[in-house]
């Protein structure tokens, strides 16, 4: 699964995108975040301490969203455009 990061989240994670494989038990965004938090300390720190939003295939989604058909997940801070 391709995950992309933007802005402060990108800086904290230290990369703008990556391919991550995760087990079949990861079904929702919430599962994914838990999985990433257990993956290493950087993710743990980011998802524990910073506000973030999730977009699946360019659509904002909530934590219950099921990701089985998603091709690209974007994780980024609250937006500040306009």
């Amino acid at each position: 699964m391709k995950i992309i990061y933007f802005a402060k989240i990108r800086e904290l994670i230290g990369k703008s995108e990556e391919e991550i494989s995760f087990p079949n038990s990861v079904k929702t965004i919430e599962d994914l975040i838990v999985f990433l938090k257990n993956h290493n300390k950087i993710y743990h720190n980011v998802f524990e301490n910073y506000d973030f939003l999730i977009a699946c295939d360019e659509e904002l989604v909530d934590m219950n969203y099921e990701i089985n058909k998603t091709k690209e997940i974007a994780i980024f801070p609250p937006v500040t455009g306009g």
Partner: protein
């Protein structure tokens, strides 16, 4: 007519207004222009950096314009949003809406700018002599009911 542009180069508000007016259709036009503010009173902004998520930004702006277009019977709608490095006073965002009755042009315009403020994936980073910092989302923007 819906025109959406996301660009790094500066745009000329007055020229955009002129182009927009060449398609004269309805009587009421409302424009909103947002420009780079300085960091008053204690700091000086060296530059404002705008990062964005291209595919999604285009999609959000287009869908927002379409929704407003339908809801308020717009005859024309233009949205321009910049990315990249901007200096104080440079234009960031322009929204122009045109309708038969002015109330609709005001409502549609405000809807578009309010909606994109909390949904369009753009992020601002302020660079000053003290360093760089990401702009925080304005709480008031989140309290708007759509």
């Amino acid at each position: 007519m819906i025109d959406i542009r996301i660009q790094s180069n500066e745009f000329d508000f007055s020229q955009e207004v002129k182009n927009f007016q060449n398609n004269k259709i309805d009587g009421a036009v409302v424009c909103f222009l947002g420009s780079v503010r300085d960091l008053e009173p204690k700091e000086t902004l060296e530059k404002l950096e705008i990062e964005y998520y291209p595919k999604m930004a285009k999609k959000v702006l287009k869908e927002t314009a379409k929704k407003a277009f339908k809801k308020w019977s717009l005859s024309q709608c233009l949205i321009i949003h910049r990315f990249g490095e901007l200096e104080v006073n440079e234009p960031i965002v322009l929204v122009i809406t045109q309708t038969k009755h002015r109330k609709d042009a005001f409502k549609a315009n405000e809807y578009i700018i309010d909606f994109l403020k909390i949904n369009a994936p753009f992020w601002k980073k302020e660079h000053s002599p003290k360093g760089a910092k990401w702009v925080k989302q304005n709480r008031r923007d989140l309290e708007i009911n759509f």
